[in-house]
Amino acid sequence: MKTLKNLSILFMSALVFTACSNDDDNPEPVNEEEVITTLTATLIPVTGGTTVTLQTRDLDGDGPNDPVVSVSGALASNTTYNGTLELLNETESPAEPINAEIEAEDDEHQFFYQITNSLATFEYTDFDGDSNPIGLEFTVTTSANLGTGTLTITLRHEPSKSDTGVSDGDITNAGGETDIQAVFSISVE
């Protein structure tokens, strides 16, 4: 019977101990460090004119709310734009810029740009140490075609940049996993 008694004392104390150590305080909230909430593409016409910004913003991350996608206005035909991307984690305050993280591991990341209806062409202007493209900086040149279509921006983590067409911006053989995929409705006027 003594063993029984000892066991129950052990059990009780363990129970009390564990209960005490956790019960009093509430868990800390988690700071989500890797979430990308906001992608902003800024297109500045080389020869002057109206800057166009495209933005997708999903403040609840994987939560139920859809990202808010906005396009500031139409692109002008026959125009070359210098483009830059800005990535932010706005779940933190102040918002945490993500660009540097991608630049630090630029050989493992690549953005892809796809424009429908031959509205524009696209070129990379930034490259990693192996002279493969990254895509945080680029140029977009609109054609003479007028109309509407979509611009899809995709960020792939660990793509095979050496596979056929990948360094020219063709996503078909890129592989890797998708970190961002945003579709913007654009028009060329």
Binding site: F11, N26, G175, T178, V183
Partner: protein, 807 residues
């Protein structure tokens, strides 16, 4: 007082001096349990070479004894032979308790086929040491698949969860050395933390009929027991070493036991396994290695009347998960699924495939499970056996995801689950024809999710309290008929603290139903404190009847309730390997199972047949199914919700063995199962398809115990599945496609071969050499119940060599 001692001493002295040799030893021999007289027990005095037997009242007398220590042996049919020492200083009375129906002994002698069972009226199967040793390099789930009706749900080939009659995870209870395993068994990619090498035998009880182990085992119970220790002065052990080509791995396991006749024993056991990337027939499965280390010590003291046991076990598993299965969004999933359809194209290997390596990179799991157990039992004369058990388990799970930057080496999941259990049971067995058992179990569990991960918690912090009481009885109506009844009540309480995204809280409608449990509002997040109570009643009734030596039937009914687990209640996030958002529901209530089963067993000289059928009706069956899609910045994801329905599962398991001759035999194991969603009137997801395994075997004792088996394993395509396919827009190809996540893989057939011989090295040392070839024809196949089936083929051919040394 002093005077008395003096007088007694003087008397003794004078007696000794007289060298009197006509003392008498007499007494009564009776049964320990019910006190009944034992007639015809043999008493043998070796030194005098004299025999006597007890009479009809159990009385015995031995005359003409000299002074001194008398040693004699008492034996009786069905009892353990006892050695008794009595000091003879005059006419002596000595009562002898015999142990008539020792469980420990029963397990060996109950039937000649050596099939010790834990229950008499349940559908139960056993894997013995010899079978388990063949799986030394593999997992619990791999070994259990050799029981008809048991299959597995896999994540790759190293995370293997047993599925009993279509049910798994929280619906299957795993008991190891008396301890109910608490190792986050709720997750499909959480394999049981069991080192098969620590087990001497495994019993699988289908259904919830063994209430002593828990009331919520809707699927069944898996009971692992350590190797039996025989009480004699000895030191023995075994070592198993194996190497295999697929995965280029090895495994080593060693056990050493020291036992003493008096009842003390000590067993130490350790094992290590190391595998690199496994291989499918056409390509390497990058990052599928395994690094496993474990040890255990088991010590204590046992006699028939009392004993104790202290047990500690440690197991660490580092498991790589196929690199190609980590994907970003549905488009990646679509690309992965399409790869397998590129028939005729050689380069259809999964994404991220590299050359062979032993490295285990992200995604990977690093899980450590520790168990400390102490138990104590005592038998009371003419009453029964009381047992008290306490255990503490610590489960530490790290999961590493593919991450970038500073977080690269930080786990994405860091959970510590601590469980304390105190159990006590009392077995009243004075009457062997009516045995009663009463039990009580108390449990406390704490889960801690480390916020340092920088990833939202998948499972929240919680405290869980459990209390259960049960009463079971076994009636033996006659030699051929057994009846079992059981009743159990369990109370479960979960007290959790969880952060919800405010948007999710509103989307779920919790702001209406659970507004009062919010304890902190951080703007975009809410901290809530759900406290959930569940009352569960379980009951069982069973009957077995033996018509004659050849025919036996078993019927039973089990009612069981299972409270939802933390994953079903609280899941809230993105699952990378499945590219889906999984959502639990606070409103989920417990599920109730009614299971009816019937078995027929036939046995004659050459044929043995066991047919087990079951029908399991589960009200409020909890399962996960797709309900829509959500957009995130990564793209679109299907949403899978935990919901409840009424389900019906039914099936038939066949085990047949036919001996052509002393040397040749045929064996068949087949299982058929159907699962229906009764509300939606469609098939249930993840139900194992029809499987049949046929074995042609040859044994020859004269050729060094030569043994060879050729196995054919046929698994038919699952034609009965729910259609969960969904349409999704793929931006890169600018089209809507139907994503086929439902269609099961086609039928496959595999051939295996195994053979072994045993060489006697010395009187006490045996060497067993075995070879094993699996998937002889290097067939490419995918299994419906493997979660990585979208991404890669299953394992290709493997040669294994195993050396087993018993000493």
């Amino acid at each position: 007082m002093r005077y008395y001692i003096l007088i007694i001493t003087c008397c003794l002295f004078s007696i000794t001096y007289g060298q009197n040799c006509n003392y008498k030893l007499s007494g009564n021999i009776h049964d320990f349990h019910d006190g009944s007289a034992i007639t015809g027990a043999t008493i043998y005095i070796k030194t005098l070479d004299r025999y006597t037997t007890s009479n009809i009242e159990g009385n015995y007398t031995i005359e003409d004894l000299c002074k001194g220590l008398l040693t004699f042996e008492v034996s009786h049919l069905g009892c353990e032979t006892k050695i008794i020492k009595v000091q003879i200083n005059g006419d002596t009375q000595y009562e002898i308790n015999m142990e008539h129906h020792i469980e420990e002994l029963n397990e060996i002698k109950i039937d000649a086929s050596g099939n010790p069972k834990l229950t008499k009226t349940s559908q139960e199967s056993q894997l013995k040491t010899k079978t388990l040793e063949r799986f030394s390099a593999f997992s619990l789930g791999d070994a259990l698949k050799h029981i008809s009706g048991v299959s597995s749900i896999n994540t790759g080939n190293t995370i293997v969860k047993p599925v009993i009659n279509g049910l798994h995870s929280s619906r299957v209870v795993v008991m190891t050395n008396g301890v109910r395993l608490q190792d986050q068994e709720w997750g499909i990619e959480h394999a049981p933390n069991i080192d098969l090498n620590a087990a001497g035998s495994i019993n699988v009880i289908k259904g919830a009929n063994s209430l002593a182990y828990g009331g919520d085992a809707i699927g069944g119970v898996i009971v692992l027991k350590p190797q039996k220790i025989s009480l004699k002065d000895s030191l023995y052990g075994k070592t198993i070493v194996s190497g295999q080509t697929n995965g280029r791995g090895y495994s080593i396991a060693s056990t050493l036991t020291k036992s003493w006749q008096k009842g003390w024993y000590f067993t130490g056991q350790a094992s290590a396994k190391r595998f690199g990337d496994f291989e499918a027939p056409d390509y390497s499965l990058t990052n599928t290695g395994l690094d496993s280390k474990g040890f255990s010590v088991n010590t204590g003291f046992k006699t028939f009347e009392k004993g104790f046991n202290v047990y500690y076990s440690y197991l660490n598993n580092q498991i790589g998960i196929l690199r190609g299965s980590h994907i970003g969004n549905v488009e990646d999933l679509n690309n992965a699924i399409n790869l397998q359809n590129l028939v005729g194209i050689i380069n259809k290997e999964p994404l991220g495939t590299e050359d062979f390596s032993y490295e285990i990179n992200a995604p990977r799991q690093d899980v450590t499970h520790q168990i400390i157990k102490a138990d104590f039992y005592k038998r009371f004369k003419k009453f029964g056996r009381l047992e008290v058990l306490y255990d503490f388990q610590n489960n530490q799970r790290f999961e590493y995801d593919v991450r970038v930057g500073d977080d690269r080496n930080k786990p994405a999941i860091d959970l510590t689950l601590k469980t304390h259990t105190l159990k006590s049971s009392l077995k009243i067995d004075t009457n062997t024809n009516a045995v009663y058992r009463f039990g009580l179990a108390l449990g406390f569990q704490n889960n801690f999710a480390n916020p340092e991960t920088g990833v939202r918690r998948l499972i929240p912090d919680y405290d869980k309290y459990d209390a259960g009481v049960f009463a079971i009885s076994n009636f033996k109506l006659n030699d051929n008929t057994n009846l079992d009844f059981g009743l159990r009540y369990d109370f479960n309480k979960i007290d959790a603290k969880k952060f919800y995204r405010t948007s999710r809280w509103i989307e779920r409608g919790y702001d209406v139903d659970f507004a009062n449990i919010v304890i902190d509002d951080l703007g975009t997040q809410l901290l809530v404190n759900p406290v959930l109570n569940y009352h569960n009643v379980s009951a069982s009734a069973g009957m077995s009847h033996k018509f004659n030596d050849k025919n036996t039937i078993i019927f039973n009914y089990g009612l069981s309730n299972r409270a939802p687990n933390s994953s079903e209640l609280f899941s809230d996030g993105l699952h990378h390997s499945a590219a889906r958002i999984e959502l639990g529901d606070l409103r989920i209530k417990q599920e109730t199972s009614h299971r009816i089963s019937g078995s027929y067993q036939f046995k004659n000289k050459s044929l043995s047949l066991n047919l087990e059928s079951f029908l399991n009706h589960i009200n409020d069956y909890i399962f996960i199914k797709p309900t829509g899609t959500e957009q995130t910045i990564r793209g679109a994801f299907p949403v899978w919700d935990y919901i409840q329905t009424d389900a019906l599962l039914y099936g038939l398991d066949v085990t047949a063995n036919y001996n052509f001759s002393r040397k040749w035999f045929l064996n068949n194991k087949s299982s058929f199962i159907k699962g229906r969603d009764l509300i939606k009137k469609e098939a249930l997801i993840d139900i194992p398809s029809f499987k049949t395994v046929n074995v042609l075997g040859y044994l020859n004792k004269k050729w060094l115990n030569f043994n060879a088996e050729l196995q054919s394993e046929l698994i038919l395509m699952q034609n009965d599945y729910p259609n969960n396919n969904f349409e999704v827009y793929i931006p890169t190809t600018e089209e809507f496609i139907l994503l086929d996540i439902s269609t099961p893989p086609p039928t496959y057939h595999l051939m295996h071969f195994e053979s072994d011989i045993t060489i006697k090295l010395s009187e006490k040392t045996d060497l067993n050499v075995g070879i094993n070839v699996t998937n002889i024809f290097n067939t490419s196949y995918r299994e419906y119940l493997n979660r990585l089936r979208y991404f890669a083929d299953d394992l290709g051919r493997n040669f294994m060599l195993q050396l087993k040394l018993n000493y």
